[in-house]
């Protein structure tokens, strides 16, 4: 970012009220934004064998500014990584305006020029999104048009290049997505929904190699069908991707495909859903040499339950995009209030079963990779998770959650390397006691037992909420079963919240782990030190 830009940005900020105030007086424009800052200070620690970087300080900062003026909407996002926190790519080093956009939002048409986020269908074919915790921001810089010519038909169009740190991808993306509402089209007077949709996405990157058969342009196609009634939901999507040779798929000329089927039933107090998914060679990037979580075109999260407790996240599954088949089934049930088991406040139950296998494949060699049987699973189990949670409110002041989980994790497949399957049993107990004047204590006790990998763990957390503003917490995870070094991974901290302004300071020792948010994972390194987190919106 040049000096002129910086001066402009500061001027806008400094004089925002004056500048926008003028508009406010005339047309009621609104200026708003948010700010988030995470800073860390690192210490040496020979228990977890970390050598701190030469610069012991690191900080990630994000400032978003939005301005709304009638049907016009504009914004920018300034980011500063000085240097980036451990675990984020060093390529973020520096600062600058990462996004800027201008939108018009009319009734039939919405146009955005600049940086934007968008998703087609369930995202299996295309999704541009931001996830700061994972350092993912694949916003497209270009043009996004959303059209709604009638109440039964809508169209989305995207054209642009993905963000790559503070630069742009070499590849270009363009796509078209349409939705047709059958019920509205035929003016059926029933409380149901039936939609069909289709997408086309094409990406191109210059190819300078010698192979005349190499595809510099790759097209993907998808179709979907969704049905909704008050109680029942059925949805499905199928994606086909043309031959897309990449570093990450060994430059195989193989095509890819994905199938997603969801069924859900929901009534008051009882609900369940079944989700099945099959992926085959679905990794898709806008540059052929992209690695890690760079320049992802589509969104392929793990289709398993996302756990809230720390020991349940030691072995998190991430989707095996080269090939996997499986699904999950969940039930939510509230035992009615007033019944014997329900008590005065009702008792809430949740059961979930998730399982994923590799595909049933035959290797072909050469540039074709493999072929596979469609509705068959291979011999290798990738992940299995059976879990049960019971949530009970005993009185206005006392609430408990009790849970059990059995997990089988194919560490060799998910993390890479040579490991046996980790089979673990986890129990967790969480209780909350409320006191007058908004004071409360929340405690978690967890245990993971396994004979495999790093053996058994125990974890505990205590959280004191002194009033709606102040919270103090202390947590520890201890790998007591490990044959080698037994380590305490602790985290103590405090947070202060006033309306939308929040400050949190903590001191922790963190293990090297796979951190997953929304089913997409990033390896985070071990560290010990201080973290300061500030967020605010205005």
């Amino acid at each position: 970012m040049n000096k002129f830009g910086i001066v402009m940005l500061y001027s806008i900020l400094l004089f925002s009220n004056q500048i926008f105030g003028q508009f406010n007086a005339l047309e009621k424009g609104v200026f708003s934004g948010s700010f988030e800052s995470i800073s860390q200070w690192y210490q040496d620690d020979n228990k977890i064998i970390v050598s701190v970087p030469q610069d012991k300080w690191a900080t990630n900062n994000y400032l978003s500014l939005h301005y709304t003026f009638g049907k016009f909407y504009a914004g920018l996002q300034y980011e500063a990584y000085m240097p980036p926190l451990l675990g984020y790519s060093r390529k973020f080093d520096g600062s600058g305006v990462a996004h800027k956009f201008f939108s018009y939002r009319g009734d039939f048409m919405e146009i955005t020029v600049g940086d934007f986020y968008e998703q087609f269908g369930s995202g299996l074919i295309f999704r541009a999104y931001e996830n700061r915790q994972l350092g993912i921001d694949n916003a497209l810089n270009g043009v996004n048009i959303r059209l709604k010519p009638s109440d039964f038909f809508s169209l989305k169009l995207v054209y642009g290049k993905q963000r790559k740190y503070f630069e742009e991808s070499n590849g270009i993306l363009r796509g078209l997505d349409g939705d047709l509402d059958i019920i509205k089209l035929f003016k059926i007077q029933k409380n149901i929904g039936l939609q069909i949709g289709a997408s086309l996405l094409s990406h191109y990157e210059l190819y300078t190699g010698a192979d005349p058969l190499f595809p510099p342009t790759v097209n993907s196609y998808s179709g979907r069908l969704d049905f909704n009634s008050t109680r029942l939901t059925l949805s499905s999507e199928y994606v086909f991707k043309e031959s897309d040779p990449l570093d990450l798929n060994y430059f195989w000329y193989k095509t890819g495909n994905a199938l997603l089927l969801n069924a859900a039933y929901a009534s008051n107090g009882l609900a369940m859903n079944l989700s099945l998914r099959r992926l085959e060679n679905m990794d898709s990037r806008s540059e052929r040499t992209a690695t890690d979580t760079e320049l992802m075109i589509n969104f392929l999260p793990a289709n398993t339950k996302q756990h809230k407790y720390s020991l349940a996240n030691i072995y998190p599954y991430s989707a095996q995009v080269m090939g996997e088949i499986g699904g999950q089934y969940s039930v939510f049930y509230k035992i009615p209030t007033g019944s014997l088991l329900g008590g005065k406040y009702g008792t809430k139950l949740n059961f979930n079963y998730s399982v994923y296998y590799g595909l049933d494949t035959t290797f072909l060699g050469g540039t074709q990779g493999f072929e596979s049987k469609y509705f068959a699973y291979g011999e290798e189990l990738y992940y299995q998770d059976i879990n049960f949670e019971l949530d009970k409110k005993w009185s206005k002041a006392f609430k408990t959650v009790l849970g059990y989980m059995n997990q089988r994790y194919n560490k060799a497949q998910v993390d890479g390397g040579d490991y046996p399957i980790v089979n673990s049993d986890i129990v967790f107990f969480d209780f909350l006691v409320k006191f007058p004047k908004n004071r409360s204590i929340r405690t978690e006790i967890q245990h993971l037992s396994t004979k495999d990998d790093l053996k058994s763990w125990v974890a505990a957390l205590i959280e004191l909420n002194i009033n709606p503003s102040w919270t103090i917490y202390a947590a520890d995870m201890y790998n007591y079963g490990n044959a080698g070094e037994k380590v305490h991974y602790y985290n103590v901290g405090t947070s202060f919240v006033k309306n939308v302004h929040r400050i949190e300071i903590s001191y922790s020792r963190q293990r090297e782990s796979l951190m997953c948010v929304g089913g997409v994972c990033r390896q985070v390194p071990a560290f010990k030190g201080l973290t300061l987190n500030i967020s605010s919106s205005f």
């Binding site: 900020l13 400094l14 107090g269």
Partner: protein, 168 residues
């Protein structure tokens, strides 16, 4: 030099904040999806001149579920006394989207649920993380907002709602 820039930036933001007399007041024209897949503009959220709570949440967010459970237990009383309604806007993505409907039904929540799966509304309202709760008055203007949840904090929200209804 870089540190100087950061300090400059922070100072500028603070000054801008200080100058900002008028906060975000109304809901923008941003589309979210109803639980049955219909697109709805946030601009059209409506409660017939009575207050409205908009709560951003996600199925994987523990404090969000605690908050919505707590409000759910008091909801009948709140509605009777003040006519308030709560719209629960889920920011879940495809990973957990399927369980938004089942989790909320399974926990018997009496709220209207909306899906903000592309997080357009979350961004437009400058929500950094969930839970984030907005309170709107009868004219649809945002009068109060709060980030994060600790048990008992719903009482603070209720007091804000009472301020709105008692002033009438």
């Amino acid at each position: 030099m870089k540190k100087v820039r950061i300090i400059l930036l922070v100072v500028s933001v603070l000054i801008a904040l200080g100058n900002q007399s008028e906060a975000q007041t109304v809901l923008p024209n941003v589309m979210v999806e109803s639980i049955t897949g219909q697109e709805v503009s946030a601009m059209n959220f409506f409660n017939d001149g009575k207050p409205m709570i908009i709560s951003f949440w996600a199925t994987w967010c523990k404090p969000c579920i605690l908050e919505l459970d707590a409000i759910s237990d008091e909801y009948d009383e709140w509605r009777e006394e003040t006519g308030v309604i709560l719209l629960a806007v889920s920011i879940d993505d495809e990973r957990s989207l399927a369980s938004v409907k089942t989790l909320s039904a399974g926990r018997d929540w009496p709220f209207t649920i909306y899906l903000d799966k592309n997080q357009d509304l979350k961004r437009a309202l400058n929500v950094v993380n969930v839970p984030h709760t907005f309170l709107l008055n009868g004219k649809g203007e945002i009068v109060w907002q709060h980030n994060s949840y600790v048990p008992g904090a719903e009482q603070e929200l209720y007091e804000e709602i009472l301020k709105l209804t008692e002033n009438k």
